[in-house]
Subunit: 137 residues, 2 copies
């Protein structure tokens, strides 16, 4: 048996579940029914984005490691691509208006697109990106 | 304009692109054409998993933050769900045989399923999971 090429869940370990749930709701994201005080999930294409308390996720996924320090970047980025170059700035601004922290303003990239970054309450980086002719997700 | 509920890319900042590319190839994952020495992408459902050098990703996504320290957990987990309880142990073992570091052996979870964790070369946590009646991705 091999490892299926599949991404079923991306789970973000959150320091304050209510705060994070409100954050994504503020983006207009629709939570799946069946959540609890400490678990929320959102359909993002075929994958689900889940929020789960950081300490509980750590006890499963990193029982022998330190918790990530607040304010550090975790080495991963998540991206919301948009259909048009001009949408990058508008969606980036909308994400910030709804409570995201602006990390970098949108700029044209050497790889041919345009993107900018914001962060969720735990510092998870979200890239709002446009690439010509490409809209995965 | 709001923020589309979409996950276009999950990008892992990697310390050694060749090592990480070989790691996922070892899982049997098929890379999309068009990659380069320092960029690889894999279709995982509607989302793409991308590998990009950590320092270059940091310059875009976290220009003012320290790089994550090697060996630390980053607060996020990625999951490959499987169709049957018994598949968890087999896929977990296959992932390890192909070079993943075992973080935790599969166990039955209080939330009703079974799962275990492995880590990729940069410590990214992958959960091999089964949940009754649920196979997103």
């Amino acid at each position: 048996m091999s490892v299926p090429q599949r991404l079923s869940f991306v789970t973000i370990g959150v320091r304050d579940a209510a705060r994070s749930r409100a954050f994504y709701a503020g983006w207009g994201w629709q939570e799946r029914p069946g959540g609890s005080d400490d678990f929320a999930q959102f359909d993002v294409g075929t994958t689900r984005l889940a929020l789960f308390p950081l300490d509980r996720l750590a006890s499963e996924a990193a029982p022998d490691a330190d918790l990530p320090a607040p304010g550090t970047w975790n080495g991963i980025t998540l991206a919301v691509n948009v259909a048009a170059r001009g949408d990058v700035d508008q969606v980036h601004a909308a994400a910030a208006m709804a409570g995201a922290r602006v990390v970098t303003a949108p700029v044209d990239r050497e790889w041919g697109g345009r993107s900018g970054y914001v962060a969720d309450p735990d510092g998870t980086r979200w890239e709002v990106a446009w690439l010509p002719g490409l809209l995965p997700g």
